[in-house]
Structure formats: structure tokens, C-alpha cells
């Protein structure tokens, strides 16, 4: 039996690799921003910690939590991609990512960003799973927009 193509695209090797071996996973000492995300549909929780330097650049980012392959891979990919960018650049990237996973016009995503995030495009064929993919991104946004200021001591 041939495997369903959309299923193959959703659970492609890059996604499974990120989900099994998440990058930037764990607590972050000296975080300047922390956000907590919760998906009441499945009960999954994620925390995103960031160190934003005086120049508004994301000097470091980590995430914690348990979740499905989609949410873990998305969080891992996100942290990998926004590290070193400015907050404004990270938010712009998020905008493009949201378009992509909702199956909307994502022409604002270009070049290498487009190539890397394209592995998540398969989510758009699974409307019930879009929230899994966006959880970490929304959590990062809430952290950057105030969230819970992390303790520095």
C-alpha cells in the first residue's frame, strides 16, 4: 500500500529528526524573556526562553516542553532559525511561517528561509494540526511582547 503522500510530507525525515533530536532544548540561564504556551486541545505545554541583547538581537534562545512531533519540530526549527536575528526579523519570519502552515500566500518568505521552513508546509493539509505547528512561535511572540520577565538571579 502506497503511503499517503500528504502523510509522507507531514512526517518527512527532517521533521522527525528535529522532533527526536530537538535543537536548543532546555533551560536558559540569564534569559531576558520567557514565554509559556499551552495548547488546551492536547494539553501540551512549551516554554520559550530568550536572551535579547541591548541591540535588540536574539543572542540566545531555548525551549522546553513535551509535545507532538509537529510542535517539537516546529519549536526546534524556530529556535535554530531566529538565533542571531533581531526581534523585528524574528517577528517577520513568524509572519511568513504562519502564512505557510495555514496554506496562505507565503511569498514574503524567500531564499534560505523559504527553503528551511518549507519542510513545515505539509501541515497546511492537516487543519487540525496547524495549532501544533504554531504553538512555539506564538509563545516566542508572547515572550518578546512582555510575557513573563525571567528572573535574572
Amino acid at each position: 500500500m502506497a503511503m499517503d503522500d500528504s502523510l509522507r510530507e507531514l512526517y518527512q525525515e527532517v521533521i522527525l529528526d528535529h522532533s527526536r533530536h530537538p535543537r536548543h532544548f532546555g533551560a536558559l540561564a540569564g534569559a531576558t524573556h520567557t514565554g509559556e504556551g499551552y495548547n488546551p486541545l492536547c494539553g501540551d505545554r512549551v516554554k520559550v526562553h530568550l536572551v535579547v541583547d541591548d541591540g535588540g538581537r536574539i543572542a540566545d534562545i531555548k525551549f522546553e516542553g513535551k509535545g507532538c512531533a509537529i510542535s517539537q519540530a516546529s519549536a526546534s526549527l524556530m529556535t535554530d532559525m531566529v538565533a542571531g536575528r533581531t526581534v523585528g526579523e524574528a517577528q517577520k519570519l513568524m509572519g511568513g511561517f504562519l502564512h505557510l502552515v495555514k496554506g496562505e500566500d507565503a511569498s514574503d518568505l524567500v531564499g534560505d528561509d523559504r527553503d528551511r521552513l518549507n519542510v513545515m508546509a505539509g501541515v497546511s493539509a492537516f487543519p487540525m494540526r496547524v495549532k501544533c505547528a504554531t504553538l512555539a512561535w506564538h509563545t516566542m511572540k508572547s515572550a518578546l511582547e512582555g510575557g513573563i520577565p525571567a528572573k535574572t538571579e
Binding site: L7, L16, C42, G43, R129
Partner: protein, 414 residues
């Protein structure tokens, strides 16, 4: 010494697939395998036809109406109440209140019966396997009236220890609220014995029968339970209707719930007096068409040998349970003796939602998540489970498809 009695032989039960047209459809090009009946059951042609016929030929608003159709619709509505009474073996039709579902039935007891009786520090005893609909209404009383929730644990196999209720029920206990059957574990609680223990201390018992009424034959008189809540859509009936059985003595001592039309005796500018139960608790235009559907659903269930249906469902459970035993990466949660036809499990390294997505593409509909039972998830140290639930229309082939889908999920995600 009791004589050993062999299990009564049950006639082979043939799942009435033809009554459920939806079961012959495909999803993603694959035959639908519907294993989510614990969330909501499919509806047989008999139920849909009854509602349709009624709406086409006899529909009008109930009560008060002088005209022909209103009288006819009122008869049908009250006949549905009698059908529900018979289904639960309640003593009188007045003890059946129609609600919009099981959740509203429990909220009705919380608001109308218990809230006025709660003093700060009074206790409500629940089990950790309750559905949120049998938890949150009691949390309201904790938040608003200072009630204390006391939790009875379940054993590791999901079974309920009746003696634990003796320990939990104290002089301040005002109510014991328990599921007749767990929507996650499938555990069937020893309800009659719990009632005996609670009544020995003068404490009433509410049973959440949303699952229990589907799979067990309920006799509220024999159980001597004080309140029994059920919902129509899990009983092969329509959404938007449920029922609360309440002992007549309690009904008379319950304050009105929603205020509005129907539930009054007289309204003046200065005062209002209320109608007698059950309509005192049925403000507004009730779910009339749905009541006809519920009655048709209960008649449909009654048209089968219920012992044979139960044996059939349990044989599917047993087939699935045995099949997954060979998956050492899969942990079944809930193996209580005498449990009903619900199988919940956690897959090692595979999130329930990923599993359910892959099963879905195979045409297999299961539920994944916390099943509105988060305290139970916490008890078993899981964030979510995957749940397959079996109904009278399921077949051995459905179980085969589930097992095949699990193999595939493991191959993709393992």
C-alpha cells in the same frame, strides 16, 4: 459456598451496520472505521427518521398551546419523558428532567440542589477519573461557596476501591459524585456499593452516566442512586438533549435553575411562583425534536438483547487488547476487571496526536488528547492518550484496521 455458574451463552450478535448509513462512507478513499463513539455515537436511520417524520408532520411548540399540533407535540415530548423513565427504571416520569446534555444535568444539581446547602468547609467526594463535566461544577462550589473537593484515587489498573469511599466520606461530606463508567479507562464503578456506603453516612450520590447508560443496563431504583445524568448523543440519539434523573424528594427541595417561560406558575410585577418539577427546571422552549429523537434512540437500544450487545462490544475490546499486547511500545491505561469497551493507551515516543493523525489517514477515527479528564492524566503521568471506543455497530474488521494502523504509525514515527 456459591455454586459455580457458567456464563450464560449469548446469541451471536450481528452489528446492525445497515441502520447507520454513515458507516458505509469512505474518508481519504478508505472505508470509515469509527472508533470514537465514547465522544459521540453515530445515529441510526430509526432516530433520524423519527425526528424527520415528527418535524414534517407533528411539530409545534409544546405546552400551553391550544391547537392540535401543540397538543400532539406535547404528547410526544411527554411520551419521550416516559421512555426515558422506563429506560432508567425510575419510579415516576416527573423524576426525569430534560436538559441539553449530561453537562447541564450535573450543573443543574450543582446549582439547584447542592449550592444552597454548602457551608464553607463542606466536602464533595469525587474520583480522579471524573470527566471535567463532573469536576468543574463542583469547582464552582469550591470557588464560590468554600466547598472542599476530596479525591478518591483509582488503583494502577484503573479499578475503584470501594473502601476508599469509606475513608473519604466524612461528617462534612455533602455529596459523592462519581462516573458510572470512565470515559478514558472504561472502568465501571461499583455504583450500587458506593451508594450503600454513602447512604450509610447519610450522603447522597450523583452518578455521571454519560458512558454508563450506553453500556450498562441502568436501574436507578435498584442502584438507589440520588441523581443520574445522561446525554442523548452518546446513546445513538441527537445532540442537544440529555436527562437528569433525580429522586422526587430531592426535586422538591431544589431551587429553580434557568428562569424563563414554562418553568413558572404565575408571574406578577412583584413576585413569581414556580411550576412543579420537572418543568420547574425546563425553562424556555425545550429540545422538542430532540426529545423525539432521544425516545427513538432509547427504543432502538431496547430493541436489542442488551446482554448480547455488551458481550459483542467486550469481544471487540478483548480482541483489541490481545492484539496490542504484542506492541511492547504501547502501554494500555485501564485494565480494571469488568471494564467496558474503551481502550486507552500511550505509545512510547509517539505523541497521541501524531498517532491519531496517521490512523485518521487510514480511515480510523480515534480520539487523542486528555479526554476532558486532566486529573486522571496527571494520576497516570501522561499528557494525553489515544482512545479507541467500541459501539454496537463495530466489527472485528474495525479492530483489525486499528491494529494495522498502529503498525503503520510505528513504522512512520517509531
Amino acid at each position: 459456598m456459591m455454586a459455580q455458574s457458567k456464563p450464560r451463552p449469548v446469541a451471536t450478535f450481528e452489528p446492525p451496520r445497515a441502520d447507520f448509513e454513515i458507516l458505509s462512507r469512505t474518508v481519504y478513499g478508505k472505508p470509515l472505521v469509527y472508533l470514537d463513539s465514547a465522544a459521540s455515537a453515530q445515529k441510526p436511520r430509526q432516530v433520524l427518521d423519527a425526528m424527520n417524520e415528527f418535524a414534517i408532520t407533528e411539530y409545534a411548540n409544546v405546552h400551553r398551546g391550544v391547537h392540535y399540533l401543540s397538543a400532539t407535540a406535547t404528547q410526544r415530548y411527554e411520551a419521550a419523558r416516559e421512555t426515558a423513565r422506563h429506560f432508567l427504571n425510575a419510579g415516576a416520569a416527573e423524576e426525569i428532567i430534560f436538559t441539553k446534555g449530561g453537562t447541564e444535568a450535573i450543573n443543574l444539581v450543582s446549582y439547584s440542589w447542592l449550592a444552597p446547602r454548602i457551608q464553607p468547609g463542606d466536602e464533595i467526594v469525587l474520583t480522579v477519573m471524573e470527566h471535567h463535566s463532573n469536576i468543574v461544577p463542583w469547582h464552582f462550589l469550591r470557588e464560590r461557596h468554600g466547598a472542599v473537593l476530596k479525591w478518591v484515587d483509582v488503583r494502577d489498573d484503573g479499578s475503584v476501591d470501594v473502601d476508599a469511599f469509606d475513608a473519604a466520606i466524612g461528617p462534612k461530606t455533602k455529596l459523592v459524585a462519581v462516573a458510572h463508567m470512565s470515559n478514558v479507562l472504561g472502568t465501571v464503578t461499583p455504583l450500587k456499593e458506593i451508594v450503600v456506603r454513602a447512604h450509610a453516612k447519610g450522603v447522597p450520590v450523583l452518578a455521571d452516566g454519560c458512558q454508563g447508560a450506553v453500556h450498562e443496563t441502568v436501574d436507578v431504583c435498584d442502584l438507589d442512586v440520588d441523581f443520574y445524568a445522561l446525554t442523548g448523543h452518546k446513546l445513538y440519539g441527537p445532540t442537544g438533549i440529555g436527562a437528569l434523573y433525580a429522586k422526587r424528594a430531592h426535586l422538591g427541595a431544589m431551587r429553580p435553575f434557568n428562569g424563563g417561560g414554562e418553568m413558572i406558575r404565575e408571574v406578577t410585577r412583584d413576585v413569581v411562583t414556580y411550576a412543579d418539577p420537572p418543568v420547574r427546571f425546563e425553562a424556555g422552549t425545550p429540545p422538542i425534536i430532540e426529545s423525539v429523537g432521544l425516545a427513538a434512540a432509547l427504543d432502538y437500544i431496547a430493541s436489542f438483547d442488551r446482554a448480547a450487545v455488551k458481550a459483542h462490544e467486550l469481544s471487540l475490546l478483548s480482541q483489541a487488547r490481545e492484539a496490542v499486547r504484542e506492541f511492547n511500545w504501547l502501554r494500555v491505561i485501564g485494565d480494571a476487571p469488568g471494564k467496558g469497551a474503551i481502550l486507552s493507551f500511550e505509545a512510547e515516543g509517539i505523541h497521541a496526536h501524531d498517532l491519531a493523525t496517521i490512523l485518521d489517514r487510514e480511515g480510523v477515527a480515534v480520539r487523542a488528547g486528555h479526554h476532558c479528564a486532566q486529573p486522571l492524566m496527571e494520576r497516570f503521568g501522561v499528557a494525553s492518550t489515544t482512545r479507541a471506543s467500541f459501539a454496537l455497530y463495530n466489527t472485528r474488521e474495525d479492530v483489525d484496521a486499528l491494529v494495522e494502523g498502529l503498525h503503520k504509525a510505528r513504522k512512520i514515527l517509531g
